[in-house]
């Protein structure tokens, strides 16, 4: 299939035509033409490399009522993604070559994004002994990111071994940093608001203490460490310090931690319950600054679909997590691009280039240039869209942005030259 994209502004630059052929970008230039090519009018649209998510919960196998690999893939494509890392906390847990290959195959069948399974660090996410990390790395799924996400690898000796062991696999441990003894029963950020609302506090120190420990361990054993969903100003400070000392640490931040604060908990509506919790204004600003200056490497959605009954309840009994794939780019636009903290190249770097590098993905996070894989998206930066939960492609409805107007609209997404999204709609 051959496609010509007319007049796209690559990374916000001057308009150019893109010729997509045989899964690659065949040419970039002016007035390109090819016989029989589909023409996509990209007047006024910004072209970015296809986004890469390091942190997606697709819920399959186990909770297909909340999301499937297919519905999650569609949501991802609509958000401009061409690759997503599927977290391991499924049922059964993705802790064997068999399960990661199953998820990988389901992704291939859906064919909307590259679904890259994350392998569990420990058997059953129980934090007791290592899962067969080598078998998952060697499987068809080629796992490179290992995480017990949802659970912290809290045992320092086990964490050290995991960091060391994955060096042989060119892998990385993605840590959900949460000291479990400091967060027993925790419901929201610990501070003025938790005190008043009577919700058990989740102290920033419970995240920061684990990150501090882990960067020291990573330095000691010379391993790569990735920190999931950094949520506090203190965590940014520790990461900045670690990077200045040459520690091989990378980190991600979620769209919701870039936009929302703990003030959302005032409603007691569990759509705003998430782990780590929404924090303070000061944290939000530190996270934006950290992402802008590169201390935080990537935006990762932590897209966490939940069935209605798991959210339509009292706060304490609701499951934590919120949707993110379809609005991530818009949130980055609002919180970083529009205020001038990040340019389009910066967006490409934090949402595609660096996450692809962390996940060791070939073919993603590449420049929009001749010869490169045709993984890209077209964005209308001038559009403003009011988020309607019922209109989402995800099987779940737990978006924290319902009713909110956000900038930007993904008009088209191409995976290896094939349109997965056109005119803002998923291609059937």
């Amino acid at each position: 299939m051959t496609t010509i994209v007319k007049g796209a502004r690559v990374l916000g630059g001057d308009p150019a035509d893109l010729l997509l052929e045989d899964g690659r970008i065949a040419a970039v230039g002016e007035r390109l033409s090819a016989t029989g090519a589909t023409v996509v009018d990209a007047d006024g649209l910004v072209a970015l490399p296809g986004l890469v998510d390091l942190h997606t919960h697709l819920r399959e196998p186990g909770r297909e009522d909340a999301e499937t690999v297919e519905t999650g893939s569609r949501a991802a494509a609509l958000g401009g993604y061409t690759a997503v890392h599927a977290m391991a906390n499924t049922d059964p847990v993705a802790d064997t070559a068999g399960v990661v290959e199953q998820v990988w195959r389901l992704g291939q069948q859906a064919g909307l994004v590259d679904v890259v399974p994350v392998g569990a660090v420990t058997v059953g996410l129980r934090g007791e002994r290592l899962a067969e990390l080598g078998a998952m790395a060697d499987s068809a799924a080629r796992v490179r990111v290992f995480s017990d996400d949802g659970h912290c690898v809290a045992d320092p000796a086990l964490m050290r071994r995991a960091l060391e062991y994955v060096k042989a696999l060119d892998g990385v441990v993605a840590q959900h940093a949460e000291e479990p003894r400091l967060t027993v029963g925790a419901q929201m950020n610990e501070g003025d608001r938790s005190a008043r609302l009577g919700l058990t506090g989740w102290p920033a120190a419970a995240e920061e203490a684990v990150i501090a420990r882990d960067v020291l361990l990573a330095q000691h054993v010379g391993a790569r460490l990735h920190v999931c969903h950094v949520s506090t100003a203190g965590s940014v400070e520790i990461l900045r310090w670690a990077k200045s000392r040459g520690v091989q640490v990378t980190a991600e931040v979620t769209p919701h931690h870039l936009l929302l604060t703990e003030a959302c908990a005032e409603s007691y509506d569990p759509v705003f319950k998430v782990n780590p919790p929404l924090r303070t204004d000061e944290d939000v600003h530190a996270l934006r600054a950290g992402l802008a200056d590169g201390t935080i490497d990537a935006v990762a959605t932590d897209h966490a679909p939940h069935a209605v009954e798991d959210k339509e309840s009292e706060w304490a009994s609701a499951r934590p997590g919120m949707l993110g794939l379809e609005q991530a780019l818009s949130v980055v636009l609002q919180t970083l691009v529009e205020p001038g903290l990040l340019d389009w190249a910066g967006v490409a770097d934090r949402m595609s280039v660096r996450p692809a590098a962390i996940g060791r993905l070939d073919g993603h996070g590449r420049p929009i240039a001749p010869g490169e894989p045709a993984n890209l998206l077209l964005l209308d930066p001038a559009a403003r869209v009011t988020v309607d939960p019922a209109a989402l492609a995800s099987r779940s409805r737990n978006t924290p942005y319902a009713g909110r107007e956000l900038p930007g609209r993904v008009v088209a997404t191409f995976l290896r030259g094939e349109a997965t999204v056109l005119d803002g709609k998923a291609v059937e």
Binding site: E190, A195, R196, Y268, E309, A316
Partner: protein, 305 residues
């Protein structure tokens, strides 16, 4: 008055005073009557939806509703469809379909009454939610103080004990300060929430320093289990440092009163001779609770429908 009573933090001075004044009028109207009953809520239905055991609070609300001639349904979550997993929302919609005009809810989850208020058309009264609030307790405490001391403005109230886990403490902080009282929280630092610094109160770790200046000492129940989570080393050490015994009570001013929301741990936070002393308002609080809850139901349901 608003449609619901979800938290004391919601009440402004005028609304809070209206509740107390209404309770006083109700007390006056019923004083000396043989049949303690008013016809105001005849034909209205009040549901007591209790997800936690609290016989005293439930009975108090039940009595309040019955004295206003309302029909009362007690719905205990134990042994009902709720224990088989029915959601709070489904339960609320079921009760409303049965014609409830007000739901009085007690729940172990903070914010449960707020959620309920989104789902039903009738009034919701918070009868204690998790570690958040217990607004009618604060109203009855304020009513008791006003009756005993004749005022609330400038009254110095020491709230002593497990503030961290206490919905009574939270409601009293907001209500009493709204009504002009000066509140001091006294507790070991482990039993005060991080963030207490933003509350309009004074904080002290030293009970003996606070007592001579207090007009009211409100003792909170301290659960012994807290000891196991290292909130304090032992029951003995707790009562030595923060318990109110006769020796400490002697440091109080002549007119100072001692309050406790009940149920008490005699010998732990309060000594038996203190609980039974003339300063103690503990039994009076129970009686005032009925009047204040009558006032709340009356004001929310608007009397004659």
């Amino acid at each position: 008055m608003k449609r619901h009573l979800l938290e004391a933090a919601d009440l402004d001075r005028a609304d809070a005073t209206l509740v107390l004044d209404t309770a006083a009028q109700i007390d006056q109207a019923l004083a000396g009557r043989e049949v303690k009953k008013l016809p105001t809520l005849r034909g209205r239905t009040v549901v007591n939806l209790f997800y936690e055991d609290s016989t005293r609070t439930r009975i108090s609300f039940e009595l309040a509703a019955k004295r206003l001639s309302a029909d009362v349904i007690n719905f205990s979550a134990k042994g009902s469809s709720v224990s088989k997993g029915e959601s709070l929302k489904d339960t609320a919609l079921t009760l409303e379909a049965m014609g409830s005009d007000a739901i009085v809810v007690r729940h172990s989850a903070s914010g449960a009454p707020h959620r309920l208020a989104n789902w039903v058309r009738g009034s919701v009264v918070n009868a204690g939610d998790g570690t958040h609030e217990h607004p009618t307790q604060a109203l009855l405490d304020a009513y008791t103080i006003r009756r005993r001391l004749g005022r609330l403005d400038g009254v110095r109230v020491a709230v002593v004990g497990d503030v961290l886990h206490s919905r009574v403490a939270r409601s009293n902080v907001w209500l009493l300060t709204t009504l002009g009282a000066e509140v001091t929280l006294v507790a070991p630092p482990t039993l005060l929430p991080v963030g207490v610094g933003s509350w309009p109160v004074t904080v002290s770790y030293d009970l003996d320093a606070v007592l001579p200046k207090a007009d009211v000492v409100m003792m909170l129940r301290v659960q012994l289990e807290r000891m196991n989570a290292s909130f304090f080393p032992s029951a003995r050490e707790y009562s030595r440092r923060y318990g109110l015994d006769a020796v400490r009570m002697a440091a109080l001013g002549d007119d100072a009163i001692v309050m406790h929301p009940g149920p008490m741990n005699r010998g732990m936070e309060i000594a038996a001779d203190v609980a039974d002393s003339v300063r103690s308002t503990i039994v009076e609080q129970v009686g005032n609770g009925v009047s204040v809850r009558m006032a709340v139901l009356y004001l929310l349901l608007g009397g004659n429908a």
